[in-house]
């Protein structure tokens, strides 16, 4: 099963490599990993998407907690949360018979943020599923290049992590 794990950790040099090292060392899988500062400049938040059964997940959470610099670990998937991913996609405009690009942009609620050499750069954000669906709707040969951020997430309402 896919899990979104949110990690609050000290913003220190080496902390990121400790986390990524842990995943390779113990053979845990990483689908995506994002990291950036929080409102407290001494802390960062890392969001990791991983998959595995319950026991693997339990080990992931425990092993992360064992790292000295980790303050808190939460499995967002197990609670009410919001998740988003952002993608920038360069799409060639020379569409054939299929759906019109502008129409797709509208359906998926994306934005065209740039155009150059008849190539549109489109910004899509949403759940991973939505981004995948957007890509599926395109003619594969029209997709020039994509860049995805990986998932970030946060719990809903008053609950803090």
């Amino acid at each position: 099963m896919r899990h979104i794990i949110s990690v609050i950790l000290e913003d220190e040099a080496g902390a990121l490599s400790r986390v990524s090292g842990l995943f390779t060392q113990r053979g845990f899988n990483i689908e995506s990993l994002t990291v950036a500062q929080t409102t407290d400049p001494t802390l960062s938040r890392m969001t990791i998407v991983s998959s595995g059964n319950e026991r693997v997940l339990e080990q992931i959470v425990k092993q992360l907690n064992k790292l000295i610099e980790v303050v808190k670990v939460t499995d967002l998937t197990s609670q009410d949360h919001v998740e988003r991913e952002l993608m920038l996609a360069k799409i060639s405009s020379t569409s054939k018979e299929g759906v019109d690009l502008k129409e797709l942009v509208e359906i998926f609620g994306c934005k065209v943020v740039d155009v150059k050499d008849k190539i549109y750069t489109i910004e899509v954000s949403g759940k991973t599923k939505k981004i995948n669906a957007f890509l599926d709707a395109l003619e594969p040969s029209n997709i020039i290049e994509i860049s995805r951020t990986g998932v970030t997430g946060i719990s809903r309402g008053k609950k803090l992590i």
Binding site: L9, G14, G21, R55, Q59, K62, K66, I68, V71
Partner: protein, 577 residues
């Protein structure tokens, strides 16, 4: 008063109560050595190889419970120490390693003797630091000792660039204590879990206590004894835990696992309630997980939550310090009525009668088991015994029943050949009044021989018991059993004359090749209080370690000495109890 970084560092070590540092100098740490030379509270032990420094500090820590301290230079200094750091890490030994680093402006420039020390050691330390400013030295040292010695202990590396040891600043007070918001190990168990565990324990009909290194490192021996005796349960101990409970006591079933006793393994296999205390269900203990303890419920006590339900799912997990958890269980169970387990004990006594450690002597050869038995006799069971890795290690564990914790010092987790000799040296420095024996093999001893020189310089008399079978015996045993006797590279040709070798290092060497000379030689060796004695004992090259659970086997699938057939019990035997 203005001090340089090196002086501040050494001052911090003094404030931590460090009395011995095991190290080796080099360019990046010369300022630190200068500061060490200028004081006399800390004795620096100059080893002959940085791996020896780490094992020496490790042996020191295992013998007296204080953190071991290591000082090495950058580049090859720290890489040489890595094996020793990993060894300490696997066995949760408190250790602080200070490594020099190239000057800050040169980091990342492929400077002379530069390696990424924090990167290289990351996966084999509890934590590591790269000091970036002289004003961080004191708090970093405080944090390092705090992290190394609390929770589940382990090694911590502090990498210090040379320029930081040279810079100067006004001396500040060394902090008495430190708070690390992201590091708060649980020590006290949850009351709810204690009540649940007590319930299961009091209803158990075939209980067994399975205790590990956590009872030694956690100084829980007193509580373990009280707990075990109060319950009247059988207890088996892991290779790392031997001695926390006295092995000569009748409730002790000896060691369990791959080379454990018949009664210990059978009792595990038949148990309905396994209480794991500071043990981590290592694969050498469990054998085939799918067949492990088929009828048991598990109570798992450990300071490290990540050990619980890692290999075996715990029915009742209890996170906390072994001593505190055991005390809480003692209090909870004091007035509780327990199930009658007399049938269980009589079953265990039947298993015991198999006498799985029995071995046959043959004329003309010295059996390695006999050597350990004689060592036990001559030292009256009171020596601190360190060992290397191989058959000799297993025989030492099997035939020297340890009655005290910290009496048995070996590399259980990593299985590092070369550990025994420097560890014996460290143990002697920690416990100068104790007799120290290093049980080793002709293969292992050659991995850290150079420390014989250090041992002369620092006058650390230990007795080296070299079980010389002319083979990498444990490898040979596996090749005999599982590779149709194709003995690839397990025979050690061109062995040195160990007697001359010991003598050339200024020690005494005694060769023993007849059983009748064995005891007199041991007595003579231990009489030599001030000297290191190298006993080169020629033992039966074909002897194997039994009992043995072959890979993939269950605890009831044991090979016993002198029996061609595997002794395999079918499940129905257990239902009879």
């Amino acid at each position: 008063m203005e001090l340089n970084g090196a002086e501040i560092l050494v001052d911090c070590l003094q404030k931590e109560g460090v009395d011995h540092v095991f190290g080796y100098p080099g360019g990046a740490v010369l300022h630190i050595y200068d500061a060490i030379e200028a004081q006399d509270k800390i004795t620096h032990v100059l080893v002959r190889h940085e791996q020896g420094a780490a094992h020496g500090a490790d042996g020191y820590a295992r013998a007296n419970g204080k953190p071991g301290v290591v000082l090495v230079t950058s580049g090859p200094g720290i890489t040489n120490a890595v094996t020793g750091i990993a060894t300490a890490h696997m066995d949760s030994i408190p250790m602080v390693v200070i490594s020099g680093q190239v000057p800050s402006p040169l980091i990342g420039m492929d400077a002379f003797q530069e390696v990424d020390a924090t990167g290289i050691t990351r996966s084999c330390v509890k934590h590591n630091f790269l000091v970036r400013d002289i004003s961080d030295i004191a708090t970093t040292v405080k944090k390092a000792f705090h992290i190394a010695t609390t929770g589940r202990p382990g090694p911590v590396v502090i990498d210090i660039p040379k320029d930081i040891t040279i810079a100067k600043m006004e001396k500040e007070e060394y902090p008495d204590s430190i708070e690390i918001r992201s590091y708060k190990p649980t020590t006290k168990p949850s009351n709810r879990q204690i009540r649940k565990a007590a319930e299961l324990i009091s209803n158990a009909k075939k209980p067994i206590l399975y205790s590990g290194g956590g009872c030694v490192i956690g100084n829980a021996s007193r509580e373990l004894r009280e707990f075990t005796q109060m319950l009247g349960f059988p207890i088996t101990q892991t290779l790392m835990g031997l001695g926390a409970y006295p092995m000569t006591d009748k409730q002790s079933l000896g060691m369990l696992g791959m080379h454990g006793t018949y009664e210990a393994n059978m009792a595990m296999h038949g148990s309905d309630c396994v209480v794991a205390i500071g043990a981590r269900f290592d694969d050498r203990i469990t054998g085939n997980l799918a067949k492990f303890c088929p009828t048991a419920k598990f109570i798992h006590i450990d300071i490290d939550p990540s050990q619980i339900s890692k290999n075996v799912v715990a029915d009742i997990p209890i996170v906390g310090q072994t001593a505190q958890v055991l005390q809480a269980l003692i209090d909870e169970l004091k007035d509780k009525e327990l199930s009658d387990i007399s049938n269980w004990w009589s079953q265990i006594e039947d298993w015991r009668k198999i006498d799985s450690l029995a071995y046959k002597k043959s004329p003309g050869v010295i059996k390695p088991q006999t050597v350990i038995e004689a060592l036990y006799e001559v030292t009256e069971g009171k020596a601190i015994v360190t060992s290397d890795v191989g058959q000799h290690q297993m025989w030492a564990a099997q035939y020297y029943p340890f009655d005290e914790p910290r009496q048995w010092i070996n590399s259980g987790g990593l299985g590092t050949m070369g550990f025994g000799l420097p560890a014996a040296m460290g143990a002697k420095l920690a416990m100068p009044e104790k007799d120290i024996a290093c049980v080793t093999g002709e293969g292992s001893i050659q991995m850290m021989l150079q420390e014989l020189s250090t041992m002369l310089q620092y006058a650390t008399p230990v007795k080296i018991i070299n079980l010389n079978n002319g083979y990498l015996g444990m490898v040979r045993q596996w090749q005999e059993f599982f590779y149709e006797k194709r003995y690839a590279m397990s025979y050690m040709d061109a062995l040195p004359d160990f007697i001359k070798l010991a003598e050339s290092y200024g020690h005494l060497g005694i060769k023993v090749d007849q059983e009748k000379d064995l005891k007199p030689a041991l007595i003579e060796a231990f009489k030599q209080k001030e000297r290191t004695v190298f006993l080169d004992i020629m033992t039966d090259p074909s002897e194997n370690v039994f009992p043995m659970i072959p890979a993939g086997g269950a605890h009831c699938d044991m090979l016993l000495a002198g029996r061609d057939e595997m002794v395999s019990k079918d499940e129905t035997d257990f239902n009879a109890v």
